[in-house]
Symmetry: none
Subunit: 250 residues, 2 copies
């Protein structure tokens, strides 16, 4: 999943469970219009490669050739330090919400400080699931006419690309507040979340049944929202391991 | 050509000699996504009304019904005080050149002062003629990838609509959703830290002795560094309580 080091770092555009090949191709064109060429595709409905996508991408076909096909979202974000989720509807999940401009400025700032950033786009029909968004660090909300919000996938990608290009002008070399901090990767957060979910499941934490789904969602969302370092993650793993040892000791 | 006075003044979107009905319909949707509903159409290639435009405009059809059909550009701009011309290629003509953001900010300023503003978009194939641009007061140039500038008519309209909405100040600023968040108080964080420290102490987590102090410090530091909500804190208390119940169950 890692990009060759010699490539300039730019946000990865992650299409989550896209449906129409035409839209994947149109998204590739929208990306390349603003110099974005790092596409990742998670579980496309019609498989991959997709001839309809290639036909629509004319001029940006190279992005599809280079696109990284992923089985699921955790794999697609494994090497990412910060993940934005684009969403039209507001969600109950507590996350920072960025405007497209603020998000791409933040992305440029993080990338300048050596982080890897991804932006998630959901399926055409329904958009991202809460389970997807719970894995993201922040939400991007596009301001649209509340009486008519009909941006399609490629249009949403287009606006992010446009703001990314605009952000190239106003990037300051400013470092993150905790520069040098060894932040946990998306993959490490994913493993932590899975470890806790598994152990808490065994311990009977997820109860009653009708609340299990939302309890798990809230826990996921908490982990992905926390600015966790590698050391934090190791400590949290250790805490849970010790609680289990304690249980099994006698 | 004059809009009823009770209508709020917004820029008129003028499609000059558009070719494909589909693109006219897509432009209508792009406009309405950002609250623009004043469309003018100059000498459409395939005549007017255009069934293909209506089919594509689904949801924004009202804009087409209201669209003003004009024989030529001078008629379309007759009532306008300031006209922007969108163009990809740079021209020899001496005109002020605006970025989309600067143009829509300027448009908002002029409209607030009572002027009427229009934005011209050329035919899909070749864009505006120099004769068209010569009639405009200023040029809008969209920053795109110099190696791949393939914005279509509706996408160009979409970007202007987006910048128009941004110029209204409607844009939800960064992190709005976090604003109303019910953050845990320092005291609640303190109780959480104490609860975990006590239970982990009992479970034998703090080991070996010479590391106990730094382990406790790191744990304290982690809790205090995390942006925890009241709900997070309750969940974390519950997780630990359940691990203890689990231990004591048998």
């Amino acid at each position: 999943m890692t990009d060759p080091v010699e490539l300039p770092q730019i946000p990865a555009i992650v299409l989550v469970r896209p449906q129409m090949g035409e839209n994947i191709g149109a998204a590739a064109r929208a990306m390349w219009n603003f110099g974005l060429d790092r596409m990742r595709i998670v579980a496309p409905r019609d498989g991959w490669p997709n001839p309809a996508a290639v036909a629509m991408a004319s001029g940006a076909g190279r992005l599809l050739d280079k696109a990284q096909l992923c089985d699921d979202l955790p794999v697609a974000c494994a090497d990412c330090d910060y993940v934005f989720a684009t969403t039209a509807r507001s969600r109950d999940l507590i996350k920072p919400v960025f405007s497209p401009e603020a998000a791409m400025t933040e992305a440029a700032r993080r990338i300048a400080s050596g982080q890897r950033v991804a932006v998630l786009f959901g399926p055409e029909r329904a958009g991202l699931e809460n389970e997807d968004i719970a894995r993201a660090n922040a939400i991007i909300s596009v301001p649209v006419n509340p009486h008519f919000a009909s941006l399609n996938l490629a249009q949403c990608v287009l606006l992010m690309g446009y703001e990314w290009m605009r952000a190239q002008g106003n990037v300051t070399a400013q470092q993150t507040q905790m520069a040098g901090t060894d932040w946990a990767s998306g993959q490490e957060i994913e493993h932590l979340a899975a470890h806790y979910e598994e152990r808490l499941e065994t311990s009977g934490f997820f109860f009653p049944d009708h609340k299990v789904a939302s309890m798990k969602l809230n826990l996921r969302n908490m982990w992905s929202r926390m600015p966790l370092t590698r050391a934090d993650v190791q400590m949290l793993h250790g805490m849970m391991r010790q609680m289990v040892r304690w249980k099994e000791r006698d």
